[in-house]
Amino acid sequence: MDFYAALSLLRMLVLDTGASWVRMFIALGISIILSLILGIYAAISERFGRIIIPIVDIFQTLPILAFFPIVIVVFVGILPGYIGINAAVIFLIITSMIWNIIFGVYESVIVLPSEVMEMAELYGLSTWQRFKKIFIPASMPRVVQQSILSWSIGLFYLVTSEIFSTGVSQYKVTYGIGVFFGTIGSSNLAEYLLGIAVFIVFVIATRLLFFKPLENYFSRYSRQQSTSAGYLRIHNIVHAPIRFIRKRVTGPTRIQDMGIRIGRVILKPRLKKNEPKPIYVKRKSRTGSRTKYATAAILLAVLIILLYLYPQILPYEYIIIVNLAFSFARVWFAFLVALAISIPVCVYLIFMTRQTSKYVLLFQIIASIPATILLPLIVAPLSAYQYGAEYTAFIVFFLSSIWYIIFSALGASKAIPNSIDEVKNIFGVRGREAWQKIYLKAIMPGLITGAVTAIAAEWNASIVAEFFNGSGNISSAICPSITSLSAISHFTGSGNAVSLGIGKLLDISLSCNNITLMLIAIVNLSVMIILINIFVWKRLYNKTSAIYR
């Protein structure tokens, strides 16, 4: 690659990445505004909160990317040309970004001390004044922290949706970093690496030039800030107490907030001991899983009614369930591997090095490189092997999930009671006993919440992990025999394809314009995820939170 070619490539890359970033900023802006409205309203109106919070909870774990095909169809149908497809991409990013910001706002408002509300009452502040003077400022620190997390999640969706939309020529954005990665293939390593470099520069620049100033500005509103004081000096025989003091004093930073939040919910650490009693707390516990059950029941009912009304779609149901089973095995295998690796890593970082914040920043940058970007790089070399597509799928699934587990565990570690290390050292708890009684149990809440998001991320990735067609179109040859399992399993497209899998099925049904199949597949997938959330994760979560509280 000569100099001028490189320069023009660079120009193109900046243009592509810039276009992607414009979409990201629009999506983030809309997400924040909607979150403020929904989150605050949910916190101040008991009835609305009881409905919206469980719904947000569900959406947070649904594979929204699976809805992307439908979103494209709808938006392109309504809006002309490239506006429609851009709207679809932005909509998709919003659906990935918004949920945790809503939670952040909701929780910021709900823990406001009742004195603040009494003050507002006494001085007769109007609704608008309460928003402007109380609720929005109280929410902003968390909004910024959550936005940083949302940005990483959004990047994954952005790139994936751009790559994905290039797979089907009629639905395609023109500029975008995902488009670049989707079309370049693995043939040109230099171009590919340059693309990654530009992407990383954008990621770091956004973090430092956009989020950092916001963080600094709004940190003054944060109620934890006031405790700042100097911290003690460490002379390492035993680092624990001081490190804990230091953590306490400097307070939580940045993206770990999600984990901290989760940890707080579960562990209710002593940090808040002296804070005044929050206003709406009583209600919070009541907005339980009833709505979740209801949603699962409704979706199940819809499925049954559909099958009853249209018995001809029964064969669809059959192939969907078989495909789902294959994907399930892949997703959970990758998850278990990720778990097996992240547990020792987290224990080492949390309990041995105590340097979690340093690593978190590094991990943030690595994690914000979406696993799907790697597809062009790994598909071609791996496809030379037998089961190459399976390896590809495993790599994408693994990379989509491991960071969520690690972030969540590291974040929640901030809520681990301060004196654990002192107890460990005073009583000389070591070796197996320390693992059994301290390490594993201490990171458990973080692992549980991390697991939910990690698995959701895997399902989201399935749409590209299990079938990646590069720039080619999916041949319509498969469409007539779409209800045949063997036809699907032998269909390979022009790129990477596993034998059977729900992601592959969704891709094929989209390119065959078989919306019915796609819809039923999505309903099946959603019902399965919600059921697992209710009966596995929610249960584990409740069990631990009852004890850890």
């Binding site: 025989i237 624990a240 009671p417 301290i438």
Partner: protein, 249 residues
């Protein structure tokens, strides 16, 4: 016999400039109950952690039965202000942590833990989790755990300050009763407190620290007979004296 010698301890904030302790020395004899009192921020809790070997001082040394303390020591145990129970372990599991360094069988650990919990009025709660207990009960578990490790010296960091007045009073008299039990190996106790009344009630010796950078202002031997009523003239006079000392900073 001297159990603990604190020799010329100094300590600074991490910035290296703000000194919080400046040449603190005192010692603790066998069968002595010593309280450390001082204004808040003078490093009382840090002092206790230095004695426990959890924090290393900038200068000076701590000796336990003549041997220098350079890390946590088998014969020294600790009661925490915020109880420091592990929320995910049952009460009995929490107490059993205290036996970690003691080489006995699991059954023996269970037997001794049950006995300890019994003596603190906690039988029946063995399999509860800490969060199901009241503050006073949690601190009883904390003390039971500290005693489980067979300590000769017991360090207590404001053990009653997270409790309400009534609970603290009851627990305090329970503790005194327990510590009189000659079966226990505990020979000496060092307690950090900001409650002057409590210190007078319990102590054989009081170490009064100044504001930071703190040094030892005065060591008072309390030779009054127990129980000490706070209405007695002697106690009141001592209290006035200590408050006056503390107010001088």
């Amino acid at each position: 016999m001297e159990m603990i010698n604190v020799e010329n301890i100094s300590f600074s904030f991490e910035d290296g400039i703000t000194r919080i302790m400046d040449g603190i020395s005192f010692n603790v004899e066998e069968d002595e109950f010593v309280s450390i009192i001082g204004p808040s921020g003078c490093g009382k809790s840090t002092m206790l952690r230095i004695i426990a070997g959890l924090i290393k001082p900038d200068g000076g040394k701590v000796f336990y039965m003549g041997k220098e303390v350079s890390g946590p020591v088998r014969g020294i145990s600790f009661v925490f202000q915020d109880f420091a129970l592990l929320p995910w372990l049952t009460i009995i599991e929490n107490v059993k942590l205290g036996f970690s360094l003691i080489n006995i069988t699991e059954e023996e650990k269970n037997r001794r833990s049950t006995l300890l919990l019994d003596s603190f009025g906690l039988s029946g709660f063995e399999n509860s989790y800490p969060n199901a207990l009241s503050g006073g009960m949690k601190q009883r578990v904390g003390i039971a755990r500290a005693l489980a490790s067979d300590p000769n010296v017991l360090l207590m960091d404001e053990p009653f300050s997270a409790l309400d007045q009534l609970t603290a009073d009851t627990l305090r008299s329970d503790i005194i009763y327990q510590l009189k039990n000659k079966d226990l190996p505990v020979k000496s106790v060092i307690m950090v407190t900001h409650n002057v009344e409590e210190a007078i009630e319990l102590s054989d010796k009081m170490v009064i620290l100044s504001a930071k950078p703190s040094h030892v202002k005065e060591v008072i031997n309390v030779n009054m007979p127990r129980p000490r009523s706070k209405r007695s003239r002697k106690v009141a006079a001592l209290m006035d004296h200590i408050y006056a000392e503390l107010a001088k900073d």
